[in-house]
């Protein structure tokens, strides 16, 4: 166990930098080379991106397609509670909901994961034992990420030790916006290493939160996406949910293009997770359409696409009940979270 206050943690010699996958192995050889690479990515046509998502948003998804989309969306939900007032009891209640989102209908699929703060990962793990539902823990001084690297890594190791299957880290937006891209890269690499388990079991999956609301431009979103993928992130995630705007469709489009291009170049699949601000079934279905039309049907699985949400699940369930019974349901027929 690494202690937060380990006096050597801050001064320890940094190991040689881990190289990104081919054909990008040399782009991190120096700060200037990395900047040249990231700034050399094609610029994003902001107007084009907006009109493309607006066009895709008009797709009409009805009847059987809608039923499929709702069930798929439910199975992709990372059911999230990230409040200062969270308690073990609330996490257990959420875990119960994750297993059986709609207790009145055994045909309703479970969600993909439950997302909690690191100190509650153990509680969530215990409550979800044997279900196949993952426990995701936010770490690295979530949501601001403003702590020393030693503290962030200790945060990650702690969550992994508690049994978290997935770690949601935040990038250092200050360093990213100041142009210190290698710092951000190294930090993601270090966190990725901290996701390893001492007993040699499969490491925790790493989701890298870009916090696109603070990156301002879509060009920056594209750069941050590539940076996170090169550093070894298994997922790139839009936002913490604590900043507005959170997940928007144009941002998601840019990230989906990035994972598609990255797969074409390196053969490695990286997942995408929009989080925050997706509250209605309509929004969720728009995202699914976007995934299918941008990254392709390969990404329409919970292993590669997730939706971070809390209130969305209830809306999905209400729509599901409407399809099943033929009449509108109401908030009395889903749990109060």
């Amino acid at each position: 166990m690494t202690h937060v206050l380990d006096p050597h943690a801050l001064t320890a010699e940094t190991p040689p930098r881990r190289e990104p996958p081919t054909p990008y192995a040399d782009v991190t050889r120096s700060e200037s080379a990395f900047r040249a690479f990231l700034h050399g990515l094609p610029g994003v046509d902001q107007v084009g991106a907006s009109s493309r998502v607006a066009m895709l948003g008009t797709r009409s998804i009805k009847t059987t397609s809608k039923a499929w989309a709702i069930d798929t969306a439910i199975s992709m939900v990372d059911l999230t509670t990230l409040e200062g007032s969270d308690t073990p009891g609330k996490v257990r209640a959420l875990a119960a909901k994750a297993r059986r989102p709609d207790p009145t209908d055994p045909g309703c699929p479970p969600v993909a994961a439950v997302c909690v703060y690191g100190d509650l990962a153990g509680v969530a793990k215990e409550a979800l034992a044997g279900t196949g539902i993952n426990v995701a823990a936010v770490a690295t001084a979530f949501p601001s990420g403003r702590a020393s690297r030693a503290v962030k890594l200790a945060d990650v190791r702690d969550a992994v030790a508690q049994g978290a299957d997935e770690i949601d880290m935040v990038i250092d937006r200050g360093a990213f916006l100041a142009g210190r891209y290698l710092d951000v890269f190294d930090e993601i690499v270090a966190v990725k290493e901290a996701c390893a388990r001492p007993d040699g079991a499969a490491p925790a999956h790493l989701k890298v939160i870009l916090e696109t609301g603070e990156l301002v431009t879509l060009d920056a979103v594209r750069r941050a996406s590539w940076l996170a993928m090169l550093a070894g992130g298994d997922f790139i995630k839009t936002s913490t949910g604590k900043i507005s705007p959170a997940a928007t469709l144009p941002v998601c489009l840019v990230m989906l293009e990035a994972v598609r291009d990255f797969r074409a170049a390196t053969g490695r699949h990286v997942g995408v997770k929009p989080a925050g601000g997706i509250r209605t079934t309509k929004d969720a279905i728009k995202h699914l359409v976007l995934v299918n039309e941008t990254a392709g049907a390969d990404w329409l699985t919970p292993d590669r696409f997730r939706i971070g949400a809390s209130s969305l699940l209830n809306d999905l369930l209400l729509q599901r009940q409407k399809l099943r019974t033929g009449h509108y349901s109401g908030p009395d027929h889903v749990s109060v979270d």
């Binding site: 033929g326 009449h327 509108y328 349901s329 109401g330 009395d332 027929h333």
Partner: protein, 291 residues
């Protein structure tokens, strides 16, 4: 050459939903004509999804409106009557055109509607005293009953009396703290549209009253079956389908107010407390007596 002729400003009205004026989600409109068949305006033709959105808005508004003090609700509703008074001429014109009444009779109907609204506004803080009670019980308890609002009430407004009838079914619902989703008269929706503008510019919180112009036969089943609607007033339902709506409402154990036997009543008659009482629940408290 400058012409003195004005182009006609043709009006296309929208719905009143959650305090805003959206178009129908379906994009549909229909022509509203006067009693002789001449074009008056276009009105939005609400769809089932508008009804769904209206129920969401009404549910969201219920907490605050039902928790407001009865005194405050009375003040807010009285303010509505004031703004209605300011629109008196417009109401008269619309009622006269829609119902084919003479100016004098339309005027009388609008006067009666505003008076009816004031009458109900006055009832807000008297309901508990009149309908509540301190109950004599055989035990060491102070036992009392209080009326509480039912919740979200769907109202199929009368088809013939476009303003007085509308006020007579809407005011009793909101006076006691319920929130309402109203399907207006299909052929005579204009006074309801204007009432929506009145409500939006008075102090009634958005979502307390939602006005859907459209067809009660189309929207009725969706509202009757809706799990989040607590009661339904079938006054304006097509008579041959009222029974069907009532059966559908049973699925979610709604309170149902049946359409009056023998068609639309004389709305000028003293309304009594029946309509308010229908959309109230009674809460009884058993409070142990100390020594």
């Amino acid at each position: 050459m400058i012409s003195n002729e004005r182009l006609t400003v043709r009006k296309t009205y929208k719905l009143y939903l959650g305090g805003a004026f959206p178009r129908s989600e379906s994009g549909r409109t229909y022509e509203v004509t006067d009693a002789r068949g001449a074009f008056l305006a276009n009105a939005a033709r609400a769809s089932r999804k508008d009804a769904r959105d209206a129920v969401v808005a009404a549910r969201a508004a219920f907490g605050k409106w039902s928790a407001a003090t009865a005194y405050n609700r009375g003040q807010v509703l009285y303010r509505v009557a004031e703004v209605m008074e300011g629109r008196h001429a417009q109401f008269c014109e619309e009622v006269a055109a829609g119902e084919g009444l003479s100016t004098g009779r339309a005027r009388a109907a609008v006067d009666a509607a505003i008076d009816r609204w004031v009458w109900y506004a006055g009832w807000t803080d008297k309901l508990a005293a009149v309908l509540g009670s301190a109950n004599p019980v055989a035990g060491p308890y102070f036992d009392f009953s209080l009326p509480e609002p039912t919740g979200v009430v769907a109202v199929l407004a009368p088809q013939r009396s476009s303003l007085l009838g509308l006020v007579s079914v809407l005011a009793p619902v909101v006076a006691s703290g319920n929130t309402a989703v109203v399907v207006t008269s299909h052929e005579r929706p204009l006074p309801a549209v204007t009432l929506g503008e009145v409500l939006a510019t008075s102090d009634v919180p958005g979502g307390v009253v939602n006005l859907l112009t459209g067809d009660a036969a189309e929207l009725g089943p969706w509202l009757a079956e809706h799990d989040d609607v607590d009661a339904i007033d079938l006054t304006g339902a097509p008579p041959e389908r009222a029974m069907e709506f009532e059966r559908e409402a049973a699925g979610s154990i709604k309170r149902v107010l049946r359409p009056p036997a023998g068609g639309e009543p004389d709305w000028t008659a003293d309304p009594g407390l029946t309509r308010m009482r229908t959309f109230l629940e009674t809460k009884t408290v058993w409070h142990p007596k100390g020594f």
